[in-house]
Amino acid sequence: MNNAVLTLLIAPYIGAVLAYVLGKTKRELAFWVAEVVGFILFLASLVLFFKYSDTVIDIDYTWIALGNIQIPFGIYIDHLSIVMLLVATGLGFLDIHFAHDYMGDDPDQPRYYAKVLFFIGGMILLVITKDLIGAFVGWEFMGLASYLLISFWYYKNSAADAGMQAFLYTRFGDIFILAAIALLFFYAGTVNLVELNQMANAGQLDKTLALVVALFIFMGAIGKSGQFPLYPWLMNAMEGPTTVSALIHGATMVNSGIYIVARLFDFFAYTDALFIVANVAALSAFIGATSALVQKEIKKILAYSTMSHLSIAFVGLGVGSLAAGMLHLVNHAIFKALLFLSAGAVIYIAHHTKDAWKLGGLIKTAPWVALFMAMGSLSLAGVPPFSGYFSKEMVVAAAWEWGNGFTKTFVTIAALLSIAYITRLWILIFLGEPRNEDLKGSVHHPSNLWMRLPLGILAFLTLFISIWQCDIVHYIVGEDVIEPHVAGLAAFMLTGMLIIFLIVVGLYVKGLNLLYKIASHHFVQTIHQVLFNGYYVEAMITWISKNIIVGAIAKSMRWFDTYVIDYIVNKTVDMTKFVYNIFKAGHSGKIGTYMGQFVLGVAIIVIAILIIVKGL
């Protein structure tokens, strides 16, 4: 096996163990192990990028052989994998680097870095595996890492709850993938991702089955990538450290759903499941974008924007443009990492204040952070020449060209609204006067090496990667890409964005009073409540699980178990007592009674014999 591949496969876990063990002896070592391992992983990805631009690494391996079944665990690294690897390891490395200061005060650093490395390992496994089994393994590793990192501050109820929620929501999606694996094993005879695409292209698969499997896999993707209706966990996941949110819930893990659909793109295309993907994603994009408008916490705004943008990438895939979807995935990963890390820097500066309404005026204390975040925001909003513009344009154009009305409308709204919420966020943080007494005193100052440098790199990337947009597309999809073209769309979008931008600036910079006035209207309040609570999907799911699954089904089974099954078992004791009491009547201790019984016994025997004798 290739050394670089081997490194990618194993190094994260070794690193995780080392970081924990060494970190236990000296806390500082944990960081350094993670930093070095992160860097090695990035280097290995770069090696693959440069060495395997023409060929594909394809290794077959049988993991388990039982009976007539062989469970494979192959490695398959093509361009798509390499791009994902670069994103995962590159951002992973920067994130670890950033955590040096951000997590610097935490006593549990060894645990933190071990988990992060474990997470990166899972992500790597997902993107380089050849089979759905391996993908599922990586997928679940990430789920576990995400759970553990969200609950990193487990002693807080909110963090513990959020971790539990994240795990269960994503697990709900995951079991569909498990079911899909089983179905594929039997009905398609393979779980090999590459073969599945080939079989789909050759039309060898049963359509119904393929549709079911595709939908099952998409269920997994919905859970992992925070699509409707399994998205609320993503918002609550913001309880974790911000560096975690940046890496896992902004830039990498949440992309895995998109990745798996992209990896099985031909398979999905063959089954018409893409239609459903597009519609669910468009709806999610709309929900995310609208809910992001009214959130208070910085990270929640970013979380909803993540959801919305993941959906936009999904729409790209869903309407049939692999290029658009993947391009947006890559761009989004970079600017979302930038935004989250900037938010982390802001939170760090502001002594862990997360409510955007309690910040303000930070541009004076942290001008560099403000600049970098502005660049990330512009990229997210889709303003040229930032990279976000190109990919988002491409998705929207693809939707206009190939999507149905629903997809088209919702994704356009979502794309336009992104400028609104991100501008609002930036203004609330950096402009105006500090709305919090703490900020007027001393603040943390971000260090150049540990905070500004990674932000700068990311900001640089999100701007300059625009130059290579076409190359990325060709690298991933191949040379013959059908790019969508809708005349006048760019102009329409830019105009729309400008108008929305002006409204937001007007309201939040000059017209706060007007804003309050509008907001106090009870109709607006209602809408605000709906949006703020993410359309009450979380409340509904919680209600169902609490009242129906636990409160009704589990409780009634418990009742049945206690008062029927075990009751019968325990009642046998009383039953024997009952029988005993009947029988006891015959045991008076008086010889006369016994003689009576004796006569009865003789009578029984003699009568029985007489009856038999008569028959003789």
């Binding site: 024997t576 007592k577 010889i591 009674t593 016994y594 003689m595 019984q597 004796f598 003699v606 029985a608």
Partner: protein, 444 residues
């Protein structure tokens, strides 16, 4: 020879036991050993009297009987001394009873043993003993009368009393058989004719109860089976119906009664009655080739375990005044060895494997299955599982509960220990090795 030795020793022992019980015991044990030796040589009664035949199975039963009685006599102390000579007589009578192949002798020896048993229980020390003894006596007298009635009827219809030559056909024979069976059921404590036994076993002296419920019952079981075998296979329908019915009735009722008793001796008494029920299954399955092995195995296993538990209870009662379940709470602290032995024998009674109680049931019940009575066997097995309830309940008191007061640890006397070890050896040996019994009955 064996018979003579035993009777002679029985006459000799009373001279010694008042002054020196050790000598009495030694004489008794020597007599048992000699008797066993002559049985082994094939010179028990058959060499002297006609009408006595000792096949392998009978010999095995006799060895077991002698060993058990030796164990009992070793364990006895104090006012139980008279039992030693009574047991020697009992042994003599039992040898004859087991070996006879003549129905007339069977009836006579049955009465002899009944008389010895009355003498056994007549060792009266208190009101309870007296009540038990009287019940046993009245019951025995009535049973004897009934049996004689049946036998009288039978003697009119048959030309010969030799088992193999008896005439078993004809309605009167069947009725005679039924009446005799009623009497014997009475002796075997089959429900509903069991009432006296539940009281007598628990009320007479425990050492006497050990012989009464353990030894005598086993002997009667085995001898009766031999005596009635020809009847049993001559009327298969009647056999199956009557014995199955009484088997189920007996075990079910006795087990339910035993479950809620508070007096340990009463639990053991009902357990003994329940075992009579199990033992009826090989009778019902007489048609099977395994029935003889089954009844022999049952008698052998039962004699060891039932005797042992009553003897242990006797010890405990003497040393600690144990009567009720409450008295044995935390017994393992005060009497570890008694507790362990008691537990093992109870497990044997309950039918836990690697102990004789299990294999005897396994073989005896298999005879039932072999005869096609698997439903009866299933009921019997479920009954035995139910019985585990009260055996475990005793064990629960011994091991799981804490003692009420911390008395000092009691030791087991040497004689008692040797006796118990003999019985334990029997229980374990026949729990693992089934070959002896199966080989002994192969010729039947």
């Amino acid at each position: 020879m064996s018979f003579i030795i035993l009777i002679a020793a029985g006459l000799l022992v009373p001279i010694f036991y008042r002054n020196n019980i050790v000598i009495a015991k030694i004489i008794a044990v020597l007599a048992f050993i000699l008797a066993a030796y002559f049985v082994f040589k094939g010179e028990s009664l058959n060499s002297i009297f006609p009408y006595f035949v000792a096949d392998d199975a009978t010999k095995l039963m006799e060895f077991v009987l002698l060993a058990t009685l030796a164990a009992v006599s070793l364990a006895l102390t104090g006012f139980e001394r008279p039992l030693i000579s009574q047991m020697l007589f009992l042994a003599g009578a039992s040898l004859a009873f087991l070996e006879t192949n003549n129905f007339f002798m069977f009836i006579v020896l049955f009465e002899v043993i009944a008389i010895i048993s009355y003498i056994l229980v007549a060792n009266i020390r208190n009101f309870y003993n007296a009540e038990g003894a009287i019940k046993a006596f009245i019951a025995g007298a009535v049973a004897s009368g009934i049996i004689l009635l049946g036998f009288a009827l039978f003697s009119f219809t048959t030309d010969s009393f030799i088992y193999s030559e008896m005439n078993v056909s004809g309605k009167f024979t069947l009725i005679a058989e039924a009446i005799m069976l009623a009497g014997i059921f009475y002796k075997l404590t089959v429900v509903p004719m069991h009432g006296w036994a539940a009281d007598a076993y628990s009320q007479v002296n425990h050492a006497a109860a050990a012989i009464l419920s353990g030894v005598i019952k086993s002997v009667v079981l085995f001898a009766t089976f031999k005596a009635f075998y020809k009847f049993l296979i001559a009327y298969p329908l009647a056999t199956v119906l009557i014995f199955s019915f009484f088997a189920i009735l007996t075990m079910t009722l006795a087990n339910f009664m035993a479950l809620w008793q508070k007096r340990i001796s009463k639990i053991l008494a009902y357990s003994s009655i329940a075992h009579s029920g199990y033992a009826l299954i090989p009778f019902a399955a007489a048609a099977s080739v395994y029935s003889y092995a089954g009844i022999l195995y049952y008698a052998v296993a039962y004699i060891f375990m039932q005797t042992s538990v009553f003897l242990l209870l006797n010890d405990l009662r003497r040393e600690l005044g144990v009567k009720y379940l409450d008295d044995i709470k935390g017994l393992y602290k005060k009497a570890p060895l008694h507790s362990l032995l008691f537990t093992i024998q109870l497990f044997s009674l309950a039918g836990i494997p690697l102990l004789a109680g299990f294999l005897s049931k396994a073989v005896a019940f298999y005879a039932g299955v072999d005869a096609g009575l698997w439903i009866i066997v299933l009921i019997a097995l479920l009954n035995s599982a139910l019985a585990v309830g009260y055996y475990v309940w005793i064990i629960k008191h011994i091991y799981f509960d804490e003692p009420k007061n911390n008395g000092e640890v009691i030791q087991m006397s040497t004689g008692s220990m040797i006796g118990q070890l003999i019985l334990l050896a029997g229980t374990i040996y026949f729990g693992i090795v089934a070959g002896d019994i199966m080989n002994a009955t192969i010729s039947f």
